[in-house]
């Protein structure tokens, strides 16, 4: 089964806004065995939308229209889809009454225009909107001899998601032939994209029935696996077999096979071991602390951090001897190690983690080029120091360095 997702709204044709609902819908449709073959963005222009609707009816089995269901003159989705389908609209008196009641309960007078939201395409099932006033619509029927499912959903993501989960998912599952889709995602830390692909391509190519998608970010690669099979067990077997082979190849660079983020995994290990950590960071400027504290409850294991940008601060806030900085430079193994140990001692945490480096674009020298970063992790007895040279702009170097710090922590706790 093929689907087309149509996002409606002139604001989605500006340089500032983008449809993101389609990613959410695609994930769910794929799980039901439906492939998205086209995505279209169109403005609030009736003839354009009618034409887009007709084209979609000619090339997809499931057609989802998003947006343009509000009360204003711009909201033309209902009329345009009815026209594309060759069906009539009728105003639903029950919906009108409910809408007036809703406004009355808020002690507000309803503008008459709002009644437009109660126009229903002939034969459509109305999908209640728990988060807004515009109901959705579900139309299932023949169009030029072929069975089609047409959906009208609201544009705001929180309205669309709730309606899809509560009103659409089960209907779709019932209306579609059963599909058995197995998925897995492997997340890999600190392996460059080309290296990762060179190592895993010979493996995933042996599994033509599993669709493999590789997404790379600074210091993190996600390998998404997906397989459609005659039964869920068969699909799972295939996906798991490939995942096992990939894990064997990539070893402990794989930090998650259940969708967790690197900071979630680190948080899990810290909690499990009853370990606390504190961070002294220079070039990452707070990014490591920010990621560790993005998780609710992080105060149980994250004691705090120092952002020691200046040499003076490295001394006054993190007790690094000024002489050490003068001897080796702020970006050095020695200063990294001293930072880690002193933040650990000062905060009385189990582990001390530090980063010092040159994020760029300025500040690089021949000895200490842009992208050079030292990390240190200590438990008070043993100190591990890692030297890396990252490639990319300031933001990218900082993100690589942040991920390297979290990965160092993960490996220590593993």
């Amino acid at each position: 089964m093929d689907a087309e997702i149509i996002a409606i709204g002139s604001e989605l044709l500006t340089p500032y806004r983008q449809d993101t609902n389609s990613l959410y819908l695609t994930e769910h449709l794929n799980q039901l065995g439906v492939e998205v073959t086209f995505k279209t963005v169109v403005g609030d222009t009736r003839p354009h939308l009618v034409q887009v609707g007709k084209t979609a009816l000619g090339r997809a089995d499931v057609i989802i229209f998003m947006g343009g269901l509000g009360p204003t003159e711009d909201d033309i989705t209902r009329e345009a889809v009815a026209a594309a389908l060759g069906l009539k609209l009728r105003r639903d008196p029950e919906l009108v009454a409910a809408l007036y009641a809703r406004f009355a309960a808020l002690r507000r007078t309803m503008p008459e225009n709002n009644e437009r939201q109660c126009d229903v395409i002939a034969g459509a099932a109305v999908l209640p909107n728990e988060k807004g006033t515009a109901p959705g619509q579900w139309i299932e029927g023949d169009y030029e001899g072929k069975k089609k499912i047409v959906l009208l959903l609201p544009g705001p993501p929180w309205e669309l998601k709730l309606m899809f989960e509560k009103q659409v998912l089960e209907r779709l599952r019932a209306a579609l032939p059963p599909a058995h889709i197995a998925t897995r995602v492997l997340k890999v830390a600190m392996v460059p994209e080309s290296t990762c692909d060179a190592r895993i391509a010979p493996i995933y190519k042996k599994y033509p029935d599993v669709q493999t998608t590789i997404l790379a970010d600074a210091g993190e690669i996600q390998v998404h696996l997906r397989s459609r099979a005659e039964s869920l067990a068969a699909g799972r077997q295939r996906v798991d077999a490939l995942a096992d082979e990939l894990e064997d190849e990539l070893g402990d660079s794989v930090f998650s096979t259940g969708g967790e983020s690197l900071e979630q995994i680190v948080a899990y290990f810290l909690e499990m071991r009853g370990t606390t950590v504190s961070v002294a960071e220079s070039c990452t400027g707070g990014m490591i602390s920010e990621h560790l504290t993005s998780i609710s409850g992080s105060s149980r294991y994250f004691l705090g951090g120092a952002v020691v940008y200046s040499n003076e601060l490295k001394t006054s806030l993190a007790d690094v001897p000024a002489l050490l900085i003068a001897q080796h430079g702020a970006v050095s193994k020695q200063v990294a190690a001293a930072l880690a140990e002193s933040i650990r001692r000062r905060t009385n945490s189990t582990l001390g983690l530090s980063v010092t480096g040159v994020a760029g674009p300025t500040g690089g020298t021949e000895d200490k080029p842009v992208g050079l970063v030292f990390h240190a992790l200590t438990d008070g007895v043993q100190t591990e120091v890692v030297e890396r040279k990252f490639i990319g702009d300031r933001e990218r170097v900082r993100r690589w360095a942040m991920r390297q710090a979290l990965d160092l922590l993960r490996r220590k706790l593993m």
Copy 2:
């Protein structure tokens, strides 16, 4: 003039990836007086792409195809667009020779398949690709009696942007009727979206010839103004008149009218005044330091920060008396003020900035609910404390709090 942007690639139909090139292209097209009226995403399937191409030729004047220009069997854009236009492809011997030379220079043997990248649509101008091997193509001609401009551009953003800037922009300007588009963007700090719109809607509605787009994020609103006029001077006059009225209404909540980010404005003021700052943050967990240090050269004014998540750290790292925390709680005016003053003293900076609050979702009480945040800013003589109650999830509360801190700094320096 209307444009359609077509993104090609099956990976753009997965839940994981999204076309972002179209936002960049839209910005430039709008500046040339071209409106984007349709955007389409289609996979690497020849009949699908031919059909999408024909549909676009029937409804837009400028059609931009992105992606699918590589050397593999999946890269079918050249063939499909030629078929949609009813034109022939021919292999360009000069391009073939250059491609072989390029591989030879890298001491690599070129797979024969790569020659496909040298197939040129009849009548097309070849657009050199400085960052990759796949050249782009520019086709200008009649299609069913109407003048069309058709562009083939590579998918990777860095290749597309360079090619567009160097090879396409001037050609487009020469080929299109002259357009005079004036734009401005006002950025507004710490005003809720509904309040902002209620205040400015009566103003921008008086300017029907200026297109006003409002984008809201936590603690920041962008108001984009755009006007097309008979001359650039006339357009600018209109946009500036509206911008002036909006600035009068919103006052010093407007922090930028030239596109700068809040941290850039703060950086500018700090540099100009020769002021240094340090930060002690609790609930924002490093986010404020991270934003201040996202700017290259920030070591000149940002001395450092302390992420004082635990009560002990507030005492040991930022010298807040334990008694003060016991008396008033960690989330209090008193602790915020003490944090700001002690980080300032400890780092010897001109200004000390602090944040303490409940980011949620856990940790709230009746007295100190989730979203309650105290900010303090001190110069050693005067200390300003701000109490705010933000609404939203953990990430949103943290972002509001980060922006509030930066805005406090901006207002102090203004």
